[in-house]
Symmetry: C2
Subunit: 351 residues, 2 copies
Amino acid sequence: MHSIEHVPAQKMREFIERCLARLGLPRRDAGAVAELMTEADLQGADGHGIFRLPQYVRRIQAGAVNVRPNIHLERERSAMALVHGDNGMGHLVMKFAAHTAIAKARTAGSAWVGVKMSNHAGPASLYAKMAMREDMIGLYLAVGNANHLPPWGGLEMLLSTNPIAVAIPGGDEPPIVLDMAPTVAAYGKVKVRAQRGEMMPEGWMVDREGRPLTDPRRMAEGLLLPIGGYKGYGLALVFGLLAGTLNGAAMGRAVVDFNADDSSVTNTGHAIVALDISAFDEVDAFKARVDDIARQMRSAERMKGVERIWLPGEQSQAKHAQRLRDGVPLAPALRRALDELAAELGVESLG
Amino acid sequence: MHSIEHVPAQKMREFIERCLARLGLPRRDAGAVAELMTEADLQGADGHGIFRLPQYVRRIQAGAVNVRPNIHLERERSAMALVHGDNGMGHLVMKFAAHTAIAKARTAGSAWVGVKMSNHAGPASLYAKMAMREDMIGLYLAVGNANHLPPWGGLEMLLSTNPIAVAIPGGDEPPIVLDMAPTVAAYGKVKVRAQRGEMMPEGWMVDREGRPLTDPRRMAEGLLLPIGGYKGYGLALVFGLLAGTLNGAAMGRAVVDFNADDSSVTNTGHAIVALDISAFDEVDAFKARVDDIARQMRSAERMKGVERIWLPGEQSQAKHAQRLRDGVPLAPALRRALDELAAELGVESLG
């Protein structure tokens, strides 16, 4: 192992903001994106934070992303909205959509907000957690920005690693935050392995003959494997129909591979659902029940060799606390890419 | 193979109705449950239809299910409701809940209805499809009625095979109906194998040492495996929190194992979400997009040896048509159990 540099979150946030502002995003928008991207790194979503910055910059420079979007409601009822993202940065579009869902759920009890004409928005949990912080349950779905998954039995990659996130507040216990793709591994994890020069375990990908593929440098010729075989295919399909097709956003062959293509508009789709807990019960009573369930899971008898039973999101929270304290680890290759970016944009480097 | 008897759906429906009416359900309620149970058998959910009748009868006879429930709204807002099932048959409670969600979504655009004090309601897709028939998207979650899944790394079975169903209408193509448990196999499938005297494939269950368990007669000492390892554990947990804990219904250690216990009230929880497609777009335009996605999947290049790519729910629909024509196959052991039931209740047998 190389010794890995650790960068304070605040420095990271400021660097991202500088880069995006230089590209023409209003300072406030650049700051909002930077905050969410840094949050992704803090919680350990290494494939979704600053790692994506060079790609975002290339896409903005190529005119594929609108730096001054008019994000607005295209359709609306008391418990739904369709947000038109005007091809803005996905983080900004999704923040708007989550706030819309929260405001509507406050009155209606629940709200479902669909999104079209957005872009890659980082880890799914960011937006589910926005509802959670308002004592709501947040549920988020998205169409990923590159197809890596064929339908079950197929070879043509028609589906992305369409993720789901569900965020449920606890009381004394940490919240339960599930954030997962319906594939054994997310593509971002494959990319991180490739950048770090590490091999993948068997079961993440197969080649076109169905043989295990473990070298991430060969990822372009591989297929991701869905969880539970045909079940994970079904989840990816249905999440894509809900987050993409319902909203008039890209799905199937219309999905732009944003790893290979810097200049096409992606028309990314998302969906965010907010559920107002106080409509169902006293919020504290609900949180106490969530705590009880969390403790039941954690205290279950363990299989031999298992040191601890984790709740979804618990490891991210531990990582968040640790990284806030010690800084975010940056692989040398990523550090070099960010320094080159700073030089190219003529902004102060990460420091 | 024995030659398997095939029973016309109509006869099956009438038999179930006779049995339930004899036990004190109002004739109309008995008919409604019988129709949904028969529908389960028609669509191939063999572990969820008439197969469950002897168990339902035992539970009603033991006073564990209320045959004349006052199913009502305990809480309500414009886009949510909490249904109190008054311990009625789950099919009746869920039918009420689905109709409530549909009515609210018609105005609000979407609605989330939680359910408490219900019972086992058969296959998840039944209720998601109720919304679908109204040109809505239906999403259903439930807490299963027996814990068969430990948290990841654990041995104590604290989670059930909490299912999800999503039903999305197509235009010229059949609808897309996903109905799955976040385990590699549903427990009902294990029970059907046991009754048929068939072995299970490796990967469905493990014993307490983590070794593959393939003999369904040993199911009581086995643990079901979640799809994608910790991911399926996360899905089962989160679906249970949404369908159970949020509604004040059983979850975790409070779940009654209704296979071992005929007399305890289960306080089963469900959730049903209805999304009004017309709030998002012209319904026909949406359905045309769903058709396009279905055709993309079906026409994808296939792996060697794969004859056809299926859409979720397509095989159930094919089975439904075939069983409506040829009758529902009944294993000899199940046939004997139903004949004994008829004799015990003093009703006309299946014929």
